[in-house]
């Protein structure tokens, strides 16, 4: 994967930057050019609160090549306080404890090392709230 793709995606991945639609107020993450709810094209940049709740989850046992050393690991769809949903890995816990309804925070982490170029890929992972 070419590296320009990584820096292009940095604002959403590194800073959880989202876009609030001026038309319908829906918060969209990552930002888009067209609001999927109202078709609006004007947005205000906003940052997501680093807190949310698990909507649904799984524990991946058969992992993609890049992540085989980490399996089994938990993945979840997390809904933030703004009503935005993100697909994230859930770290720092027993994967089997990650179930719908769990409260999590979103923390900046290394996501993967890409195979050929060895590029370090960062982003956010969820961590259960104590």
């Amino acid at each position: 994967m070419p590296s320009p793709r990584y820096w292009r995606e940095i604002p959403s991945r590194y800073r959880l930057e989202a876009a609030a639609c001026r038309g319908c107020k829906r918060v969209i993450y990552p930002k888009r050019q067209v609001c999927p709810q109202c078709g609006g094209v004007e947005f205000e940049a906003t940052r997501l609160a680093h807190r949310g709740r698990v909507v649904t989850s799984t524990v991946v046992h058969v992992a993609p090549t890049d992540l085989q050393m980490e399996a089994p690991y938990a993945m979840a769809v997390v809904e933030t306080e703004e009503g935005v949903r993100l697909m994230v890995q859930v770290a720092d816990c027993d994967p089997s404890e990650v179930l719908p309804g769990m409260e999590v925070t979103l923390e900046f982490r290394l996501i993967r090392k890409e195979d050929h170029g060895g590029i370090l890929c960062y982003g956010h992972k969820a961590v259960p709230v104590e």
């Binding site: 058969v62 890995q89 089997s96 982003g123």
Partner: protein
Amino acid sequence: MRDVAIISTGMTPFGELWQSGLRDLFVQAAREALMAVGSPSVDAIYVGNMSGGQFVGQEHLGPLMADHLGLAGVPATRVESACASGGVALRCGFLDVAAGASDLVLVAGVEKMNDGADVTNVLASAADQETEVYHGITFPGLYAMIARAHMARYGTTEEDLAAVSVKNHRHGARNPKAQFRSEVTAEQVMTSSMVAEPLRLLHCSPVSDGAAVVLLCPLERAREFTDAPIRIRSSGLATAPMALADRADPTFLDAVSLAAGRAYKSGGVTPSDIQVAEVHDCFSIAELCVLEALCFTERGSAGELTRAGETALGGRIPINTSGGLKSKGHPVGATGVAQAIEIVEQLRGEAGERQVPDATIGLAQNMGGSGASSVVHIFERV
């Protein structure tokens, strides 16, 4: 719009076909379909294929397949909608004939998955690369999340999921072209190795090679070729948000519901008119969600329906008499066309041990990704 009929079919067995390449599979199925009706001249070809480029490094399948069929010169188009590629190719052929642009159209679906490619990564390319795959989710993982949400919301159980696999293997054991012609028990399903919780190996469709072909023509010309034409009564296609996180209800397949609504409406039929159906059971949970989106049962009740035997041969609405993707196999681009072939055989009364008595109206539902695209066709005996 003209009425459109399927006049002939051809299909390779599904499985690990190490002796056959992508083009071999296509040509074998296409020749079978053509020769069965005296090899008429073809006006157009549509080839459904998810990922020849990633599986075997081959793109540009339209001219390749036309050429290898001895038909260089004929218009040929490759159609892609992930695992719904075959069903969408069928829709393209249907619209071509219905519009009056072509008379005899060859619709193919083909996939060569066993050729050394990293299948997990290739299939994941049907999900959102930036917001889903980057973070480590797999394709089975997405359906596992749908399953867990369905369990949390409706009380669906692992036994319900297992019942889908048991039923589809029982059907597939009667299908000579199925990849797995063996029955499995609920216990075997529920103790098979874990793939993505709660989905285990025997909840997942296999990695398969295969091709399936149907020939279409205007219904008014169909009897020039066959005594048993099957009319394509209607076709519906729809999309939904690409990423699972962007769907309001992860347990409900909006694209399936929309596509089915369009097919029911333009075909003038209701769900209760359907006597046999092939649905996209890439994972056991998918069959349950699809039955609900097709309105064959109330939301949340598909597990109960399955456990009661209502979707098995002999039940109220037999589902996946072919064995489904689970047992018949799932060469992704071929699946949508193979589903249509099973319904054609059912409506012609040629399904042998799998026959649903007196079936006259059937449905096929094919789906791409974790449900971001779906296509539904309704067929009838004429």
